[in-house]
């Protein structure tokens, strides 16, 4: 939020507070955090948002168990704006209906022993224009228009890249899980096989042991 120099009230007196409000509504903040959520834990994040700001919450589970988490978004009055259980990925856009502290929580309380790695991206407000039109006399030059379109394209490239990175991390985590499970299960199965087969032979041999007085002897 850029500090606006205060000007004396005049014919533009009404415009200035409007502009300030508009600027405040356009304050852009984007926080993306990847964190580990232990089993049976809940982690909440809070953010102060001004009324009328368009916000987007996007989250994705990268590693852990069934790759799902509970998510819940509440407004300052405690009204639940968004609530989903066991979701792997979701994106939720809303416009702040009032000023205050909004709270969103991720919960892994349904899981008994798997830690989950969760990524979320909380975008508040729209991006400010590259070439702000306050003191503009002419329209944007070609150079400036080119800059603006390159900037937009790059923003979407970075956005797609982040999504791809997360999907790839998730796929890789599943593949590594699978690899470990295959290795352990195969070794386990081989051991069980050996133990059971050898055990069977010795058990059978013990049925015909001379120590026992069998009653099935066809006797002379």
């Amino acid at each position: 939020l850029r500090a606006m120099p205060l000007r004396a009230a005049g014919p533009r007196g009404r415009l200035l507070p409007l502009l300030l409000v508009a600027l405040a509504a356009c304050a852009v903040r984007a926080s993306e955090i990847t964190f580990e959520l232990p089993d049976n834990a809940k982690q909440c994040f809070y953010e102060e948002i001004a009324q009328g700001t368009k916000c987007t919450l996007e989250f994705q589970v990268i590693t852990g168990g069934h790759y799902d988490v509970d998510c819940r978004l509440e407004d300052p009055d405690g009204i639940v704006l968004y609530k989903e259980m066991k979701k792997q990925y979701d994106s939720f856009t809303f416009t702040a209906s009032r000023n205050g502290t909004y709270k969103f929580c991720f919960s892994n309380e349904f899981s008994t022993f798997t830690h989950k790695t969760v990524y979320f991206d909380f975008q508040v407000g729209e991006d400010p224009p590259l070439f702000p039109s306050e003191n503009r006399v002419t329209a944007l030059t070609q150079m400036e228009s080119a800059c603006v379109s390159i900037h937009e394209a790059l923003k979407s490239v970075i956005d797609y890249q982040t999504h791809f990175r997360l999907r790839e991390a998730q796929g890789r985590s599943r593949a590594e899980d699978l690899n470990t499970r295959v290795a352990y299960w195969s070794i386990g199965e081989a051991i069980i096989l050996l133990v059971v087969s050898i055990g069977q032979v010795f058990l059978l041999k013990s049925f015909f042991s001379d120590k026992r007085t069998t009653t099935t002897r066809v006797g002379s």
Binding site: E36, Y46, H151, A175, A183, L194, S197
Partner: protein, 200 residues
């Protein structure tokens, strides 16, 4: 500093940043302490500090410093991978102190080089476009580095999948061999046993 979360007095909170090598990561934080008497978070808490620890993917400690209640830390990754940034307060109070918690405001920026807004305010037309172009070039370099890193990770992913594939095949063969040889041994052993017991 907008986003905040709560943490226990002596609790360590960590976040993970998966970054390519040679990337600058800047973190801004502010911490407030809960006051029992006022039932609110204090504006400033003198003497409260935060240990910031950054661990590289190879479990080396890259940064470990004590900062005040408000601070900025930064590091440049030299390995690509998951770096773990941990924050822990230096509070010496007992954990059993009921109801004490911390409010940590956090903002982490990866690989971005921020425009110096005051320079942009200069009315020189050519300079403004120049600066925007430099910023764009930085963004493109960052995208390129991320893509390179992505290529390395996809290779690792592919290797894991191929290893799983050959593991499955190999273990199936080994188990079949074990099954056949154990079967033969069982029959031979039992036959010899019955012959020795004069049952056959």
């Amino acid at each position: 500093l907008a986003l905040y979360f709560h943490s226990g007095e002596r609790e360590e909170k960590c976040i993970i940043e998966d970054v390519p090598s040679d990337t600058l990561v800047i973190g801004n934080y502010r911490v407030q302490r809960w006051d029992i008497h006022k039932q609110d978070f204090l504006e400033s808490a003198p003497g409260l500090g935060m240990f910031v620890t950054v661990t590289t993917p190879s479990a080396e400690v890259l940064l470990s410093k004590l900062y005040g209640p408000q601070g900025t830390f930064s590091f440049t990754s030299y390995l690509s991978g998951e770096h773990i940034i941990c924050l822990q307060s230096n509070s010496t109070r007992f954990v059993a102190f009921a109801g004490s918690k911390l409010r940590i405001h956090l903002d982490i920026r990866v690989g971005e080089h921020f425009l110096d807004e005051s320079v942009v305010q200069a009315k020189d037309k050519v300079n403004e476009v120049n600066i925007r172009l430099e910023h764009l070039i930085e963004q493109i370099h960052h995208v390129s580095k991320e893509q390179n890193y992505e290529r390395e990770r996809e290779e690792k992913f592919r290797k894991t999948s191929e290893e799983t594939n050959s593991n499955i095949l190999w273990w199936a063969v080994v188990q079949t061999l074990i099954l056949i040889s154990i079967g033969i041994w069982q029959i031979k052993s039992l036959r010899d046993f019955f012959i020795s017991k004069k049952l056959v």
